[in-house]
Amino acid sequence: MSAISIVLICFAVFALSRAVLRFRRGGLPLLHLGLWVLFWSAVIVVVVQPSVTSRLATLLGVGRGADVVIYLSLMSLFYLLFRMFGKIEDLERQITRVVRAAALKELDDTLSRRDP
Protein backbone atom coordinates (compact mmCIF):
# COMPACT_ATOMS: atom_id res chain seq x y z
CA MET A 1 0.00 0.00 0.00
CA SER A 2 1.43 3.36 -1.03
CA ALA A 3 1.80 6.35 1.24
CA ILE A 4 -0.94 8.29 -0.58
CA SER A 5 -3.37 5.39 -0.04
CA ILE A 6 -2.72 5.51 3.69
CA VAL A 7 -3.21 9.29 3.80
CA LEU A 8 -6.46 9.01 1.84
CA ILE A 9 -7.80 6.21 4.05
CA CYS A 10 -6.91 8.13 7.21
CA PHE A 11 -8.70 11.18 5.86
CA ALA A 12 -11.77 9.17 4.89
CA VAL A 13 -11.93 7.58 8.35
CA PHE A 14 -11.52 11.00 9.93
CA ALA A 15 -14.33 12.45 7.79
CA LEU A 16 -16.53 9.46 8.63
CA SER A 17 -15.98 9.94 12.34
CA ARG A 18 -16.83 13.63 12.03
CA ALA A 19 -20.09 12.81 10.26
CA VAL A 20 -21.04 10.26 12.93
CA LEU A 21 -20.15 12.75 15.66
CA ARG A 22 -22.30 15.46 14.10
CA PHE A 23 -25.16 12.99 13.69
CA ARG A 24 -24.92 12.02 17.38
CA ARG A 25 -25.04 15.66 18.39
CA GLY A 26 -28.14 16.06 16.28
CA GLY A 27 -26.52 18.37 13.75
CA LEU A 28 -26.95 15.98 10.82
CA PRO A 29 -30.12 14.28 9.59
CA LEU A 30 -30.01 10.47 9.27
CA LEU A 31 -30.30 10.67 5.47
CA HIS A 32 -27.24 12.92 5.22
CA LEU A 33 -25.31 10.63 7.54
CA GLY A 34 -26.21 7.70 5.29
CA LEU A 35 -25.01 9.57 2.20
CA TRP A 36 -21.73 10.58 3.82
CA VAL A 37 -21.10 7.04 5.10
CA LEU A 38 -21.78 5.72 1.60
CA PHE A 39 -19.49 8.32 0.03
CA TRP A 40 -16.50 7.88 2.33
CA SER A 41 -16.87 4.07 2.34
CA ALA A 42 -16.76 4.18 -1.45
CA VAL A 43 -13.60 6.29 -1.24
CA ILE A 44 -11.98 3.68 1.03
CA VAL A 45 -13.01 0.82 -1.25
CA VAL A 46 -11.60 2.60 -4.30
CA VAL A 47 -8.31 3.39 -2.53
CA VAL A 48 -7.86 -0.18 -1.27
CA GLN A 49 -9.02 -1.83 -4.47
CA PRO A 50 -8.56 0.58 -7.43
CA SER A 51 -9.53 -2.15 -9.89
CA VAL A 52 -13.14 -1.63 -8.80
CA THR A 53 -13.19 1.59 -10.80
CA SER A 54 -12.03 -0.24 -13.92
CA ARG A 55 -14.89 -2.68 -13.61
CA LEU A 56 -17.27 0.22 -13.05
CA ALA A 57 -15.76 1.96 -16.08
CA THR A 58 -16.41 -1.04 -18.32
CA LEU A 59 -19.90 -1.28 -16.92
CA LEU A 60 -20.63 2.40 -17.69
CA GLY A 61 -18.85 2.35 -21.02
CA VAL A 62 -16.15 4.81 -19.94
CA GLY A 63 -12.56 4.09 -20.98
CA ARG A 64 -10.63 4.08 -17.73
CA GLY A 65 -11.32 3.65 -14.04
CA ALA A 66 -9.67 6.96 -13.20
CA ASP A 67 -12.00 8.73 -15.63
CA VAL A 68 -15.06 7.34 -13.84
CA VAL A 69 -13.77 8.74 -10.58
CA ILE A 70 -13.19 12.15 -12.14
CA TYR A 71 -16.61 12.23 -13.83
CA LEU A 72 -18.39 11.25 -10.64
CA SER A 73 -16.39 13.76 -8.59
CA LEU A 74 -17.19 16.55 -11.02
CA MET A 75 -20.85 15.64 -10.99
CA SER A 76 -21.05 15.67 -7.22
CA LEU A 77 -19.09 18.93 -7.02
CA PHE A 78 -21.47 20.61 -9.45
CA TYR A 79 -24.41 19.27 -7.53
CA LEU A 80 -23.00 20.61 -4.28
CA LEU A 81 -22.33 23.98 -5.91
CA PHE A 82 -25.90 24.07 -7.15
CA ARG A 83 -27.21 23.22 -3.72
CA MET A 84 -25.06 25.88 -2.10
CA PHE A 85 -26.20 28.50 -4.59
CA GLY A 86 -29.78 27.74 -3.63
CA LYS A 87 -28.96 27.84 0.08
CA ILE A 88 -27.18 31.18 -0.22
CA GLU A 89 -30.11 32.60 -2.17
CA ASP A 90 -32.47 31.49 0.60
CA LEU A 91 -30.25 33.09 3.20
CA GLU A 92 -30.05 36.35 1.23
CA ARG A 93 -33.83 36.43 0.99
CA GLN A 94 -34.21 35.80 4.70
CA ILE A 95 -31.71 38.52 5.59
CA THR A 96 -33.62 40.96 3.39
CA ARG A 97 -36.83 40.00 5.13
CA VAL A 98 -35.30 40.69 8.53
CA VAL A 99 -33.72 43.99 7.43
CA ARG A 100 -37.00 45.07 5.81
CA ALA A 101 -39.06 44.20 8.87
CA ALA A 102 -36.72 46.26 11.04
CA ALA A 103 -36.81 49.19 8.60
CA LEU A 104 -40.61 49.19 8.42
CA LYS A 105 -40.87 48.90 12.20
CA GLU A 106 -38.69 51.98 12.52
CA LEU A 107 -40.96 53.75 10.04
CA ASP A 108 -44.02 52.81 12.11
CA ASP A 109 -42.34 54.22 15.19
CA THR A 110 -41.42 57.44 13.38
CA LEU A 111 -44.94 57.88 12.08
CA SER A 112 -46.61 57.24 15.42
CA ARG A 113 -44.27 59.77 17.03
CA ARG A 114 -45.13 62.38 14.42
CA ASP A 115 -48.85 61.66 14.27
CA PRO A 116 -49.88 60.65 17.75
Binding site: E89, E92, T96, R100, A103, L107
Partner: protein, 232 residues
Protein backbone atom coordinates in the same frame (compact mmCIF):
# COMPACT_ATOMS: atom_id res chain seq x y z
CA UNK B 1 -43.55 67.65 7.84
CA UNK B 2 -44.98 66.69 4.55
CA UNK B 3 -45.99 63.12 5.39
CA UNK B 4 -47.73 64.03 8.61
CA UNK B 5 -49.90 66.48 6.71
CA UNK B 6 -51.09 64.05 4.08
CA UNK B 7 -50.46 60.36 4.24
CA UNK B 8 -49.78 60.29 0.59
CA UNK B 9 -51.68 59.15 -2.34
CA UNK B 10 -48.79 59.75 -4.70
CA UNK B 11 -45.54 58.33 -3.42
CA UNK B 12 -42.12 58.36 -5.05
CA UNK B 13 -39.74 55.66 -3.89
CA UNK B 14 -36.01 56.27 -4.29
CA UNK B 15 -33.55 53.54 -3.34
CA UNK B 16 -30.19 55.04 -2.41
CA UNK B 17 -26.84 53.53 -1.63
CA UNK B 18 -24.05 56.04 -1.07
CA UNK B 19 -25.65 58.72 -3.24
CA UNK B 20 -24.75 61.84 -1.24
CA UNK B 21 -23.58 63.63 -4.37
CA UNK B 22 -27.03 63.68 -5.97
CA UNK B 23 -29.70 62.60 -3.49
CA UNK B 24 -30.57 66.04 -2.08
CA UNK B 25 -31.25 67.56 -5.49
CA UNK B 26 -33.23 64.51 -6.64
CA UNK B 27 -35.42 64.61 -3.51
CA UNK B 28 -35.95 68.39 -3.69
CA UNK B 29 -37.33 67.98 -7.21
CA UNK B 30 -39.31 64.84 -6.38
CA UNK B 31 -41.21 66.43 -3.47
CA UNK B 32 -42.61 68.96 -5.95
CA UNK B 33 -44.53 66.28 -7.82
CA UNK B 34 -45.52 63.74 -5.13
CA UNK B 35 -47.22 63.78 -1.75
CA UNK B 36 -44.49 61.76 -0.09
CA UNK B 37 -40.97 60.87 -1.19
CA UNK B 38 -39.65 57.74 0.46
CA UNK B 39 -35.89 57.29 0.30
CA UNK B 40 -34.68 53.83 1.20
CA UNK B 41 -31.19 54.27 2.57
CA UNK B 42 -29.76 50.88 1.70
CA UNK B 43 -27.04 50.76 4.33
CA UNK B 44 -25.14 53.78 3.00
CA UNK B 45 -21.92 54.73 4.71
CA UNK B 46 -22.11 58.35 3.60
CA UNK B 47 -24.49 61.23 4.31
CA UNK B 48 -27.24 60.04 1.93
CA UNK B 49 -29.83 59.50 4.67
CA UNK B 50 -29.30 62.83 6.41
CA UNK B 51 -29.27 64.78 3.15
CA UNK B 52 -32.42 63.05 1.90
CA UNK B 53 -34.21 63.84 5.15
CA UNK B 54 -33.11 67.49 5.03
CA UNK B 55 -34.40 67.73 1.48
CA UNK B 56 -37.84 66.61 2.62
CA UNK B 57 -37.87 62.85 2.19
CA UNK B 58 -39.17 60.25 4.57
CA UNK B 59 -36.14 58.04 5.10
CA UNK B 60 -36.44 54.31 5.66
CA UNK B 61 -33.20 52.70 6.72
CA UNK B 62 -31.70 49.32 5.92
CA UNK B 63 -29.22 48.37 8.64
CA UNK B 64 -27.07 46.60 6.05
CA UNK B 65 -26.83 46.89 2.29
CA UNK B 66 -29.31 44.57 0.55
CA UNK B 67 -29.07 45.73 -3.04
CA UNK B 68 -31.45 47.42 -5.44
CA UNK B 69 -34.15 44.74 -5.27
CA UNK B 70 -34.18 44.62 -1.49
CA UNK B 71 -34.37 48.40 -1.25
CA UNK B 72 -37.18 48.69 -3.79
CA UNK B 73 -39.19 46.02 -2.00
CA UNK B 74 -38.88 47.91 1.27
CA UNK B 75 -39.68 51.26 -0.33
CA UNK B 76 -42.80 49.96 -2.03
CA UNK B 77 -43.96 48.23 1.17
CA UNK B 78 -43.46 51.54 3.00
CA UNK B 79 -45.46 53.36 0.32
CA UNK B 80 -48.33 50.91 0.73
CA UNK B 81 -48.18 51.43 4.48
CA UNK B 82 -48.44 55.18 3.90
CA UNK B 83 -51.64 54.69 1.96
CA UNK B 84 -50.23 55.26 -1.52
CA UNK B 85 -52.58 54.87 -4.45
CA UNK B 86 -49.93 55.53 -7.07
CA UNK B 87 -46.26 54.70 -6.63
CA UNK B 88 -43.27 55.60 -8.76
CA UNK B 89 -39.76 54.27 -8.33
CA UNK B 90 -36.87 56.38 -9.54
CA UNK B 91 -33.09 56.34 -9.30
CA UNK B 92 -31.11 58.45 -6.87
CA UNK B 93 -28.30 59.29 -9.27
CA UNK B 94 -30.15 61.96 -11.19
CA UNK B 95 -30.83 59.99 -14.35
CA UNK B 96 -34.58 60.47 -14.04
CA UNK B 97 -36.37 63.82 -14.14
CA UNK B 98 -39.07 64.59 -11.58
CA UNK B 99 -41.19 65.78 -14.51
CA UNK B 100 -41.14 62.25 -15.94
CA UNK B 101 -41.95 60.76 -12.54
CA UNK B 102 -44.95 63.07 -12.48
CA UNK B 103 -46.08 61.88 -15.91
CA UNK B 104 -45.83 58.26 -14.76
CA UNK B 105 -47.82 59.06 -11.59
CA UNK B 106 -50.51 60.72 -13.68
CA UNK B 107 -50.63 57.69 -15.99
CA UNK B 108 -51.03 55.32 -13.03
CA UNK B 109 -53.73 57.52 -11.56
CA UNK B 110 -55.80 57.22 -14.71
CA UNK B 111 -56.62 53.83 -13.25
CA UNK B 112 -56.68 51.67 -16.38
CA UNK B 113 -53.21 50.20 -15.88
CA UNK B 114 -51.41 48.50 -12.99
CA UNK B 115 -47.87 49.09 -14.14
CA UNK B 116 -46.12 51.80 -16.12
CA UNK B 117 -42.64 51.60 -17.59
CA UNK B 118 -40.72 54.79 -18.21
CA UNK B 119 -39.01 53.67 -21.38
CA UNK B 120 -35.80 55.24 -22.66
CA UNK B 121 -36.02 53.17 -25.80
CA UNK B 122 -39.32 53.95 -27.45
CA UNK B 123 -38.14 54.79 -30.94
CA UNK B 124 -38.70 58.19 -32.47
CA UNK B 125 -40.34 59.68 -29.39
CA UNK B 126 -39.38 61.90 -26.48
CA UNK B 127 -36.66 59.37 -25.68
CA UNK B 128 -33.26 60.99 -25.48
CA UNK B 129 -29.98 59.78 -26.82
CA UNK B 130 -28.52 56.72 -25.24
CA UNK B 131 -24.90 55.76 -25.81
CA UNK B 132 -24.58 52.84 -28.22
CA UNK B 133 -23.03 50.63 -25.57
CA UNK B 134 -26.05 51.15 -23.34
CA UNK B 135 -28.44 50.49 -26.18
CA UNK B 136 -26.71 47.15 -26.72
CA UNK B 137 -26.74 46.28 -22.99
CA UNK B 138 -30.39 47.18 -22.67
CA UNK B 139 -31.33 45.24 -25.77
CA UNK B 140 -29.63 42.18 -24.31
CA UNK B 141 -31.61 42.79 -21.11
CA UNK B 142 -34.84 42.98 -23.12
CA UNK B 143 -34.12 39.81 -25.09
CA UNK B 144 -33.13 37.92 -21.94
CA UNK B 145 -36.26 39.12 -20.14
CA UNK B 146 -38.34 38.01 -23.10
CA UNK B 147 -36.71 34.59 -23.34
CA UNK B 148 -36.95 33.94 -19.58
CA UNK B 149 -40.32 35.46 -18.79
CA UNK B 150 -42.12 35.72 -22.11
CA UNK B 151 -42.94 39.43 -22.11
CA UNK B 152 -41.51 41.89 -24.60
CA UNK B 153 -41.12 45.43 -23.28
CA UNK B 154 -39.09 48.19 -24.87
CA UNK B 155 -37.02 48.94 -21.74
CA UNK B 156 -36.96 46.09 -19.25
CA UNK B 157 -34.07 47.63 -17.30
CA UNK B 158 -35.63 51.04 -16.68
CA UNK B 159 -35.55 52.26 -13.09
CA UNK B 160 -38.49 54.63 -13.56
CA UNK B 161 -41.66 52.61 -13.09
CA UNK B 162 -45.13 53.23 -11.82
CA UNK B 163 -47.33 50.88 -9.82
CA UNK B 164 -50.93 51.06 -8.79
CA UNK B 165 -51.72 50.26 -5.19
CA UNK B 166 -53.12 46.90 -6.26
CA UNK B 167 -49.94 46.01 -8.12
CA UNK B 168 -47.80 47.12 -5.18
CA UNK B 169 -49.80 44.97 -2.79
CA UNK B 170 -49.56 41.88 -4.93
CA UNK B 171 -45.88 42.46 -5.74
CA UNK B 172 -43.59 39.70 -4.51
CA UNK B 173 -39.96 40.58 -5.19
CA UNK B 174 -37.54 37.79 -4.42
CA UNK B 175 -34.30 39.10 -5.83
CA UNK B 176 -32.03 41.51 -4.06
CA UNK B 177 -29.81 42.85 -6.81
CA UNK B 178 -30.08 44.46 -10.23
CA UNK B 179 -32.07 41.46 -11.51
CA UNK B 180 -35.05 43.10 -9.88
CA UNK B 181 -35.72 45.12 -13.06
CA UNK B 182 -36.51 41.95 -14.98
CA UNK B 183 -38.37 40.58 -11.98
CA UNK B 184 -40.87 43.41 -12.22
CA UNK B 185 -41.55 42.23 -15.76
CA UNK B 186 -41.95 38.66 -14.51
CA UNK B 187 -44.49 39.89 -11.97
CA UNK B 188 -46.26 41.83 -14.68
CA UNK B 189 -46.74 38.60 -16.61
CA UNK B 190 -47.58 36.35 -13.65
CA UNK B 191 -50.03 38.72 -12.01
CA UNK B 192 -51.50 39.74 -15.36
CA UNK B 193 -51.02 43.43 -14.73
CA UNK B 194 -52.25 45.78 -17.39
CA UNK B 195 -49.33 47.98 -18.37
CA UNK B 196 -48.32 50.96 -20.43
CA UNK B 197 -45.02 52.44 -21.56
CA UNK B 198 -44.20 56.12 -21.49
CA UNK B 199 -41.28 57.57 -23.41
CA UNK B 200 -38.73 59.26 -21.19
CA UNK B 201 -35.41 60.81 -22.15
CA UNK B 202 -32.28 58.86 -21.35
CA UNK B 203 -30.16 61.12 -19.21
CA UNK B 204 -26.59 60.06 -18.84
CA UNK B 205 -24.49 62.26 -16.67
CA UNK B 206 -20.85 61.50 -16.11
CA UNK B 207 -21.84 60.63 -12.55
CA UNK B 208 -24.56 58.16 -13.44
CA UNK B 209 -22.31 56.60 -16.06
CA UNK B 210 -19.59 56.06 -13.48
CA UNK B 211 -22.08 54.46 -11.08
CA UNK B 212 -24.04 52.56 -13.68
CA UNK B 213 -23.80 48.97 -14.71
CA UNK B 214 -20.41 47.84 -15.85
CA UNK B 215 -20.08 44.92 -18.21
CA UNK B 216 -19.23 42.77 -15.22
CA UNK B 217 -22.39 43.75 -13.34
CA UNK B 218 -24.38 43.13 -16.51
CA UNK B 219 -22.99 39.65 -16.96
CA UNK B 220 -23.48 38.85 -13.27
CA UNK B 221 -27.06 40.08 -13.41
CA UNK B 222 -27.77 38.03 -16.51
CA UNK B 223 -26.22 34.90 -14.98
CA UNK B 224 -28.27 35.28 -11.80
CA UNK B 225 -31.45 35.76 -13.80
CA UNK B 226 -30.83 32.61 -15.81
CA UNK B 227 -29.85 30.45 -12.84
CA UNK B 228 -32.75 31.70 -10.77
CA UNK B 229 -35.19 31.06 -13.58
CA UNK B 230 -34.35 27.38 -13.35
CA UNK B 231 -33.95 27.04 -9.60
CA UNK B 232 -36.91 29.23 -8.73
Amino acid sequence: MLWSRALGTKVIVIPAYNEEATIAQVVREAVQVADVVVVVDDGSRDQSAALAKQAGALVVRHAVNRGLGGALGTGIAAAVKLGATAIVTMDADGQHRAEDARRVLVRVEQGDVDFVIGSRLIPGDAGGKMPLRRIIFNSIGNVLTYVLFGVWVSDSQSGLRGLSRGAAESLDLRTNGMEVSSEFIKELKEKRWRYAEIAIPAIYTEYSMSKGQSLFVGVKTAAKLIIRRFIG
